[in-house]
Subunit: 135 residues, 2 copies
């Protein structure tokens, strides 16, 4: 990753951390029953190993995934893939920020952002990882 932000549009910036998180969860959703090691996820998705540890830890603390230590340990989804949305993951690693104010005549701009945000939010809360892996 050369640029700090991977990008999908002028405004739509997705941090490497968020992408990695989404991809890791996707990997878990696609895996058969049983734990998947961080090592395997890292290899499959080309994610720096130590960084991934870090992210998986965060996801586990948030209750999205579970883990098991020791040999043949690893990670798995805490709920079914059909019950985890993209928004769930994003909320954990990025948080959902709140909009800010616009002075005077520029106030209507805020409505535009709100529209974009709502659309984004709708999409992300509707798409589950079950859909992602079956696409």
């Amino acid at each position: 990753m050369t640029t700090p932000f991977a990008v999908a549009g002028a405004f739509v910036r997705i941090s490497a951390r968020t992408q990695y998180a989404l991809r890791a969860v996707t990997e878990l959703a696609a895996a058969p029953e049983g734990p998947v090691s961080a090592e395997r996820i890292a290899a499959a998705q080309g994610i720096p190993r130590r960084f991934l540890d870090n992210i998986l830890l965060q996801l586990r603390r948030a209750g999205l995934i579970r883990s098991q230590r020791g040999p043949d340990g690893g990670y798995w989804l805490a709920r079914e893939a059909s019950a985890i949305t993209l928004a769930d993951v994003i909320a954990v690693v990025e948080g959902w920020p709140s909009p800010d104010e616009y002075p005077g005549v520029a106030q209507p701009l805020a409505d535009v952002w709100a529209t974009i945000r709502e659309h984004e939010e709708k999409l992300l809360t509707e798409i589950t990882f079950a859909q992602i892996v079956s696409a």
Copy 2:
């Protein structure tokens, strides 16, 4: 602006520079005939003066606004407000980057970003500053 990014959503991040640019153009769109000084814009929109200079320069070089030096000089729109879209301004200060690849099973995620991006782009290229100031 305390945070580096003002934010409209989890992914939709708008830099201060871009916001200032949009607000400055909005100010020009709302103003009566004749030049508006950077000083006035800065005051009306709470934009750091020197920073604004910088941004206005960029907008002028891109041909979106025109300027006049000296007393009672200032800036005005190069075209009618109804012929300048939000996307025009954003393209100048941010540019429109291209999407990137997703490995293996996570590939469908790219489609989601694409959807978000398309919606965003559609909106931004449709909304003009005439609409903003009359909202």
